[in-house]
């Protein structure tokens, strides 16, 4: 319990829980809507926002938020009616966003901050002020999903039918991409923009087998994400490893164990 005496560790734990809630809830919506790689494109393009924020001397979170939301809006506009072209646009946004980030970092005079912390996460990077920003973004995500839960459920299950019943599917598709962009920003400092996708999909995949409602899936995913985050943070502190990678490997181990357990059970039932 000694690790809880350090302020940076307290910050990391709070940040971990905030990230888990966002990743579990939005991850569930992303998975059932089959938008995992679209979110991957948004996540990687956020590097452009980080680079621009560094160059212009703005807070990193603000730069990343504005840039990823703009990317999400652009992707929503490009892909809503042309889903078959999604792959092309995702690849484009993914690479161009990262290239913009690299160029702006190159142009920044005397820049020497550890950029790896944004790519793979770092528990040391979480400041007290970051927690407030992450908390505010999470509150927006929670409010939107709670308030429009039925609309999100309807467009996720059968988008065509939802449109027939008068639900503006295009608007909710755009909102969903904006919420995933905000979730990426919340998770940048804990798991990093490269690994955030795994935290949004692994707990969700496990939860999908054990839930009969989307709401139940969201809750269970958030709980599992929190569990994997806490285990990963402890491993990161104990062995001085990168936090994001530890969290993702803890989640992957959980997924393998759950899959094995399910396989053994199905064998038992057959026998």
């Amino acid at each position: 319990m000694e690790i809880l005496h350090y302020t940076f560790m307290q910050n990391a734990l709070i940040a971990g829980i905030l990230v888990s809630l966002a990743a579990g809830i939005i991850g569930s919506l992303i998975v059932v809507n089959r938008l995992v790689f679209l979110t991957g494109g948004v996540a990687h393009s956020s590097y452009g926002g980080i680079g621009m924020a560094i160059y212009f001397g703005l807070p990193i979170f603000l730069g990343a938020s504005l840039f990823t939301v703009a990317t999400a809006l652009l992707l929503a506009w490009l892909t809503f009616k042309k889903r078959h072209l999604s792959d092309t646009y995702i690849g484009l946004i993914w690479a161009v966003g990262m290239a913009i980030g690299v160029i702006f970092v190159d142009l920044t005079p005397g820049y020497n901050t550890d950029l790896m912390s944004y790519l793979f996460g770092s528990i040391l990077a979480v400041q007290h002020s970051d927690l407030w920003f992450m908390g505010a973004l999470l509150a927006m995500v929670l409010f939107a999903v709670h308030h429009w839960y039925r609309e999100f459920l309807a467009i996720s299950y059968d988008s065509d039918y939802a449109a027939l019943r008068g639900i503006p599917t295009g608007r909710f598709y755009t909102l969903l991409l904006i919420l995933s962009a905000l979730t990426v920003v919340i998770a940048i400092k804990v798991v990093g923009l490269i690994l955030v996708l795994a935290l949004m999909t692994i707990p969700t995949h496990i939860a999908s087998h054990r839930s009969s409602t989307l709401y139940g899936m969201m809750m269970l995913s958030a709980l599992l994400a929190a569990l994997f985050t806490l285990i990963g943070l402890w491993l990161s502190y104990r062995y001085d490893l990168t936090s994001g990678a530890c969290i993702i490997l803890a989640a992957a181990t959980g997924l393998i164990m759950e899959s094995l357990w399910r396989w053994l059970r199905s064998r038992q039932i057959r026998n």
Binding site: A154, Y157, A162, L214
Partner: protein
Amino acid sequence: MNVLRVENLRFAYDREPVLQGVNLEVDEHEFVAVIGPNGGGKSTLLKLIMGELLPDEGTITVLGKSPRQAREEIGYVPQNTNVNLDFPIRVLDVVMMGNPKQHLEAANWWERLFPVRYNSLEKRCAYTTLQKVGMEAYLDRRIGELSGGQRQRVMIARALCAHPRLLILDEPTSSIDVEGQKQIYALLKELSRDLTVLVVSHDLSVITEYADKAVYVNRSSYTHDLRRSPIHLQQPEGEHFCEIELMQMLAEKTCDCEHHAGKKEES
């Protein structure tokens, strides 16, 4: 009273018309089967009836209104091809999607704060709607656990949830075995006592046993009243042969109709 009236309808996506000279009258409590070859314009006709497309010529009246004005009174069961069976959703959730406004109409301010939960009125509505299709015992079951026929009944319940006066189904039995198909059509026949049913179908051998009218659509249309002259497809020569014969007969009648329409236009 006419629930649906289509007069001299013409529609083209490009220059070549998909539908031309289509006429159709459907009365209250009728069970109508729309049949015809693939690419003959059946799905386009449905889209026009539901107000998703606008006709180039002619008129469509649904319950005395334009299709867009009548949208709230039309229940629709789409073809079940894109539904994800792994989706974590209960029968109750699916049925309530048919009437998204009910929550706001019935809920008090406290219930409105928690859209995740259904209020008692909604639960009662879902239960009674599921009773109509014989699925009330499955209210809390995950939809992916149901058989194809049971899922289709739930989709019909979803369409009935908003209390429509016209129920439109697009190939409701496309992935169901013959016994299941018969059960679905018997259910639709029963439902047609309270509302009007319009079904697009390929299952000629089954549907002609239950429907009141068969509307053959292949660019133009021909309506055959099955109550006046029933078609019996269960012949010793084999079912498939008879289906082809029926299609040919209806196709010839449709050509006649098109020919007459052409002559009328010329004169």
